[in-house]
């Protein structure tokens, strides 16, 4: 297909048009308006970097960044350990392997909003009931404090996302040649050694993928946050995506919200580009 040919462009037009109007144009438009006092309809003045300067002095925004980073760190660790654990379990050729895989993955098919509502019931009502049956006070009053809100989000996210990350680890674990494992077994390697010395190095690429997927997922989390805690109590469990949303659609401070959205883009894009860098580096090493 030649670049000059009409058919090349006809084949590309629908997606190029949609991408331009839906992603690129709003992106550039928003970038420009983040330097003004735009209120969503009109902008009267160009005000330079002052939205950005305000954003970095905005306690709520900074709190949201810190909360999101803490959430991301804890999530990455838990999701990956549990995801890998589940993957190792279901690749043991158990009778229930297929069933287990189906069950662990299931939460990922259901929307974050619905999952958040279900877990709100669990944390608020079921935890309370279990707590009073077993006499554990720590299970009472969940989601009413910042800590329980934080751990509530972590538990929900881990429960949902571990099954997704499991799928990625399974794909890599199953690609490890059987002969290699058998050879190691014949040479007298223990189960632990077979994992650590043979499987682990071959599965290493899955770690890069899973780490970054978990990280960018944690940064973009919105629906679960909205349904589970709605940022409460007192906005103390508000994550970045929600903080930007509220600045725009509760405070109607559009230009200011857009400057935060640009900062958000820089954070997320940096994470993604770091991943690309590591992937390329590994390909060179191999």
């Amino acid at each position: 297909m030649k670049s000059r040919s009409v058919s090349f462009w006809l084949f590309l037009t629908p997606t190029l048009l949609a991408l331009t109007l839906v992603v690129f144009f709003p992106f550039i438009y928003g970038f420009i308006f983040s330097f003004t006092d735009w209120n969503g309809l009109t902008a009267s003045e160009f005000i330079g970097f002052s939205n950005y300067i305000d954003a970095f002095k905005d306690k709520e925004f900074l709190d949201a960044i810190i909360f999101t980073i803490m959430f991301a760190i804890v999530s990455i660790i838990l999701v990956n350990i549990i995801g890998l654990g589940l993957a190792l379990l279901v690749t043991q050729k158990l009778k229930s392997s297929n069933l287990l895989r189906t069950v662990f993955f299931m939460p990922n098919l259901i929307g974050g909003l619905i999952l958040g509502f279900i877990w709100q019931f669990i944390f608020v009502s079921a935890f309370d009931a279990i707590g009073s049956v077993l006499g554990i006070e720590a299970l009472q009053g969940w989601l009413s404090t910042t800590e329980t809100g934080f751990w509530g989000l972590v538990i929900l996210n881990t429960w949902q996302y571990a099954g997704y990350i499991m799928i990625i680890y399974i794909a890599y674990l199953e690609s490890v040649p059987k002969e290699l494992i058998e050879a190691a077994e014949i040479d007298g390697a223990s189960a632990f050694q077979r994992f650590w010395r043979v499987k682990f190095p071959l599965v290493a690429p899955a770690f890069t993928i899973s780490l970054f997927l978990t990280l960018s997922n944690a940064f973009k989390l919105y629906d679960q946050n909205l349904a589970l805690t709605n940022g409460g109590p007192y906005n103390s469990t508000q994550m970045l995506a929600m903080e930007i949303y509220n600045t725009a659609f509760s405070d109607y401070d559009m230009a200011y919200a857009q400057s935060k959205a640009v900062i958000f883009f820089i954070l997320v894009a940096t994470i993604a580009l770091t991943q690309v860098y590591f992937n390329k580096k590994r390909e060179v090493d191999l």
Binding site: L21, V23, L94, I118, A171
Partner: protein
């Protein structure tokens, strides 16, 4: 060998226990959806003492289930159909054209994946609002824009395994580009089309944020309606849980029949 067998049994038991823990939120949702308000108050963890389906009747009506389900189907099926149709065409054109320009356009599509939704959300809604496109048609067009990048990327990759000689043979037989693509190439892309369909369907069916900004109450999709419904029944868990159960049932039915394809599709989308 005996030790090995024993450890297998231990692993089986561990697996089943974990699966039960994983399913426990759904268990609590379903049993409590069948209880009366008092039933939940007296016992949350056990089975209902008296089963009631009144909650479901009420939730079905309040969720406007038939209408919100239909809206969800229209949005999801419409968007996914357009994404498959247009992304496969673009992936084909870009993969078969080896010029620098084609490479640049492909990179532009890939680069768009770096831009998170929240970074374009505010101007997007403002622009589409000004041209009166905050409706179902506008929403489907937006999903095409947000879904195209990954889908083109997947189609572009799959094209590598379809030999150019097939195109050439068809061209010699007198087929034009359009016919070559739809009669020869597109049918061979079926496996990747299934992947593209699954990935986009899961995401669009469950999406809340974008429809909440674009649609009005009379065209609300299921997640959107769920949000209003839940706000209405915050302290009435028996109704809220019945509504959540109803909203999940369609997804579970599809998962039951297509789980192999779904898990394969998700794996392919994530690993590439």
């Amino acid at each position: 060998m005996r030790g090995k067998r024993r450890s297998k049994i231990i692993l089986e038991i561990l697996g089943v226990l974990l699966a039960l823990i994983w399913l426990s939120p759904f268990y609590l949702m379903i049993v409590n959806a069948f209880k009366t308000k008092n039933g939940i108050f007296t016992d949350i963890l056990g089975l209902p003492e008296e089963w009631t389906v009144d909650n479901f009747k009420q939730a079905f009506i309040d969720l406007d289930f038939l209408s919100s389900f239909t809206n969800s189907v229209i949005v999801s099926v419409g968007s996914v159909a357009l994404i498959i149709l247009f992304s496969s065409m673009a992936g084909y054109a870009l993969a078969r054209n080896k010029t620098k320009l084609s490479g640049i356009i492909f990179m532009v599509f890939v680069a768009a994946m770096l831009i998170p939704f929240q970074s374009v959300m505010i101007p997007l809604i403002s622009i589409f609002g000004e041209v009166n496109m905050l409706n179902i048609q506008g929403l489907i067009f937006m999903y095409l824009g947000f879904g195209a990048s990954l889908s083109i990327f997947l189609y572009h990759g799959a094209m590598a395994s379809i030999p150019v000689s097939l195109d050439e043979a068809a061209t010699i037989d007198g087929a034009n580009k359009w016919q070559v693509f739809w009669k020869i190439v597109f049918p061979m892309l079926k496996p990747i089309s299934v992947t593209v369909m699954i990935l986009n369907l899961i995401w669009i069916w469950n999406d809340y944020l974008l429809p909440s900004l674009v649609l009005s109450a009379d065209t609300a999709t299921l997640p959107l309606k769920m949000f209003f419904f839940f706000g209405q029944y915050t302290k009435q868990w028996h109704l809220a849980l019945a509504g959540l159960t109803i909203a999940i049932i369609p997804v579970i039915i599809v998962y039951f029949f297509a789980q192999k394809h779904i898990i394969e599709g998700v794996t392919e989308g994530a690993v590439k």
